[in-house]
Symmetry: C2
Subunit: 199 residues, 2 copies
């Protein structure tokens, strides 16, 4: 299979990390979002929503949305419980991540990374407040449990780890969140873990 990806993307990293942990061979194709490489007619023909990551199977079938790709790859493995309620709880945290976490924690990091922090300075405080709210929800949930669902490492942890562990690149202070810090260390200690810097 082939993964269309962008190195600095946490959404792309989620998929790279899981592919590594599951030992799934794949080809990685870089598409630089800063150069508009996901908005070309060729790429839009592959994903009309113009985003990476995009997974292309050997038969040409394509799957978009990082968390849907995680779910696809994880089915039948240890990182996705089969139980109906537990599986829905994994999805609950993945939808939380895309709706209440990524638009704040990831977007502020992106603005710094892309040199837009000055241009966006009026928007950053409100985004950071929402980001801190999301981190606060995570911190409370981690009271007395090692991972997000059922006490076991799952794709819910991968989805939330991707942008949380680089939140300081968006100037978020993770020192305020001791349980999150301990959980980040547990995730990083999982077999087959690879850092976001490794391709």
């Amino acid at each position: 299979m082939r993964l269309y990806d962008f190195h600095e993307s946490g959404n792309g990293y989620k998929v790279r990390l899981l592919l590594s942990q599951l030992g799934i061979p794949h080809e990685r194709v870089e598409r630089d979002i800063l150069k508009g490489e996901t908005r070309t007619p060729t790429f839009l023909a592959k994903n009309p929503n113009g985003r990476i990551p995009l997974l292309e199977l050997d038969d040409g079938t394509r799957l978009a949305e990082s968390n849907a790709i995680l779910f696809f790859l994880a089915r039948g493995t240890d990182v996705l419980p089969e139980d109906r309620l537990a599986q829905a709880q994994v999805l609950q945290w993945m939808f939380f991540e895309q709706y209440s976490h990524e638009p704040y924690v990831a977007v502020v990091r992106f603005w710094h990374f892309a040199g837009l922090a000055e241009e966006k300075q009026d928007e950053i405080p409100a985004r950071m407040e929402r980001g801190y709210q999301a981190l606060g929800v995570m911190e409370r949930h981690l009271a007395g449990q090692d991972f997000f669902v059922g006490g076991r490492y799952s794709i819910a942890d991968i989805a939330l780890y991707a942008y949380t562990h680089v939140a300081e690149e968006g100037r978020f202070e993770l020192a305020r969140f001791p349980r999150i810090q301990a959980w980040l260390a547990r995730v990083a200690a999982q077999p087959g873990h690879v850092p976001i810097t490794e391709l």
Copy 2:
């Protein structure tokens, strides 16, 4: 089971609609988000993210995030394919809905509904542009197919229907999207369909 809900919420409506179509008995508890009723200590103890819909099972277990609730309720029924790829494609459209559609189509509608259109007037044009982009992605995908995944009505259609069918309340012009209009009519013609106005 018990559904914490807010009448005007499209996210709440998704769950009401599926509960109706599956014939699942439930108690509905209104929580007015305009009055801050999802931010009280009592409600935050139930859902630390302070949002409806929230599903409470008879044993007290709670599940948040509208699309995770849909997935939970739909498992093993006709509105969620069991096939691994098709199930991931359903999730792809549900993550698209929460990330690329709801923050624009739903939020602009909410501002009008809540009397905030004037206060938010500087933000509305950019939100509407992104909303139209999402509607454009949907319009293209519906070329030659009746529903979003595998030619069959699924929870992907329910998730996208919820805010698309009331997009005009946010001043979006659906007349620009003939395929979406035909799809809305197909969704509304499904057995057990209930309108958003019905509780």
